[in-house]
């Protein structure tokens, strides 16, 4: 009998199947939970030429598809040039956007380009819920982008939502929103990453909401999840997908300055594998970096060994554990059996690793004038 597919994938592949590429740290929004702490561009960002060289390498490796994000990737002046280079070279593209640059003209351009998928981010089914997280006017902007894509006959685009305590109640509304455009709905997990670290404890879904979400997803196998809820598989029948952490094994992240991380949710030195600017480029980072080699080693259940659900949940998400200060060989902070909550209680305040300020724009500071 051949080994279960997942066992083979855990050992890592010679090339990623797909990967995330954050093109820029610049962004016109300042979402409260931004996984990449984006806002300001980094002066060391990869040049157009360097980006094209990365794309050529991905083609050599036969990476099928690249998920482009940021920040807001479309603010790069060479964005379309790079998308065209991907498509022309044979690498499929999906890019994630807040929609601010999807005008009727850009929508028409995109409608004329094959092998490009568009994913619009919203975190609420109405302006009030969404804008509380993504900023005033961001919902309207996203809806305008969707309307423009529809008017340009772009075809099915994706609507991507990060699940929080405040939008689990809107699951049906999200489904209706996607349905109204013939779009694909995508729901993903909030990780305590980037600016998400600051508000994770208040924003992540409650235990009851997790169960509700799990049941809702089970009934709707067509809703995409990026396999981000595999920790919920301990609740029963596994959700569709590989149900495993792909970081460093089948996927990874390339950041705007060319650093390679295990995944977009662990932008931290601990999970930095190398740089595309290193000798040997991305290929040698993927194939020989000590970090990725260690992620491809078999792991033990550690503290989860006595729990009957470990096979289903694999101990959950590395990023969720890391940034909440939990050990990587123990339960996920949102462990459906409650083991994570217990473990969190033992974490000393302020001891969790910090994502650092990243590229967040400084918050406006109230200026007070003192008169003598």
């Amino acid at each position: 009998m051949p080994a279960p597919l997942t066992e083979e994938l855990k050992r890592g592949l010679d090339a990623p199947i797909c990967l995330t590429w954050e093109l820029t740290y610049g962004c016109n929004l300042a979402c409260v939970h931004c996984l990449s702490s984006s806002g300001r561009r980094d002066p060391r960002e990869l040049s157009t030429g360097e980006c094209k060289a990365v794309i050529d390498e991905l083609r050599e490796l036969q990476v099928f598809y690249v998920n482009i994000g940021g920040g807001e990737p479309t603010i790069r002046p060479d964005f379309y040039e790079l998308v065209d280079h991907c498509v022309g070279t044979g690498v499929g593209v999906k890019f994630s956007t807040n929609g601010s640059t999807i005008t009727p003209a850009t929508a028409a351009r995109l409608a004329g380009t094959d092998y490009v998928d568009v994913q619009i981010s919203v975190d609420g089914a109405d302006a009030a819920t969404n804008d509380a997280v993504r900023g005033d006017g961001s919902f309207a902007m996203a809806r305008r982008a969707m309307d423009n894509l529809a008017a340009a006959n772009f075809g099915p685009f994706k609507i991507s939502v990060v699940m929080t305590r405040h939008n689990v109640a809107q699951l049906d509304a999200f489904e209706a929103l996607a349905g109204s455009y013939g779009a694909q709905l995508r729901l993903t997990r909030l990780r305590p990453s980037g600016r998400g670290a600051d508000t994770w404890h208040e924003l992540h879904p409650t235990n009851e909401q997790q169960v509700q979400l799990y049941r809702w997803l089970l009934d709707r196998p067509d809703v995409l999840t990026g396999d981000s809820f595999f920790h919920l598989s301990a609740l029963g029948e596994p959700l569709p997908g590989l149900n495993l952490c792909g970081a460093g094994r089948v996927v990874c992240l390339i950041d705007p300055v060319g650093d390679v991380y295990a995944c977009p949710f662990v932008l931290h030195d601990e999970f930095r594998a190398g740089s595309v600017r290193d000798v040997g480029g991305f290929t040698s980072v993927w194939r020989s970096s000590p970090l990725f080699l260690s992620l491809r080693e078999p792991t033990s259940a550690g503290a989860c060994a006595s729990c009957g659900s470990y096979d289903a949940c694999q101990g959950g998400c590395m990023a969720a554990k890391f940034f909440t200060g939990l050990p990587l060989d123990g339960p996920d902070p949102e462990c459906v059996k409650g083991h994570g909550e217990l473990a969190l209680a033992g974490v000393a305040a302020g001891s969790a690793p910090s994502p650092g300020p990243g590229h967040s724009k400084p918050r406006p500071v109230a200026v007070t004038f003192r008169r003598k």
């Binding site: 051949p2 597919l5 010679d14 090339a15 199947i17 099928f64 499929g92």
Partner: protein, 90 residues
């Protein structure tokens, strides 16, 4: 419906990438990803276009006849996901 007496081919928009377990088949058009879990099936997919029928391709392969039903089932699934398609005369 798979017609094993008809000629088939790997869909031109499908990339077949060898892996330790067999191959990954990615369809650039419909974005579907299939794990092909037997080297013999990978070989068969590559050779499909060179034979006048699926049956011929199977007969010419290293696959023992006892496994042909399983292989035909797999090919039927691959046709449903458009990884293979019936060849039309040009």
């Amino acid at each position: 419906m798979l017609d094993t007496a008809a000629p088939y081919e790997l869909h031109p928009q499908v990339a077949l990438r060898p892996e330790p377990f067999g191959a990954l088949a990615y369809h650039y058009g419909n974005r579907r990803l299939t794990f092909v879990r037997a080297n013999e099936l990978v070989e068969l997919l590559r050779d499909l276009g060179a034979h006048d029928s699926v049956d011929d391709a199977l007969a010419a392969s290293d696959v023992v006849p006892a496994r042909w039903p399983a292989f035909r089932n797999a090919l039927a699934n691959l046709e449903a996901s458009e990884v293979i398609r019936a060849r039309t005369a040009h």
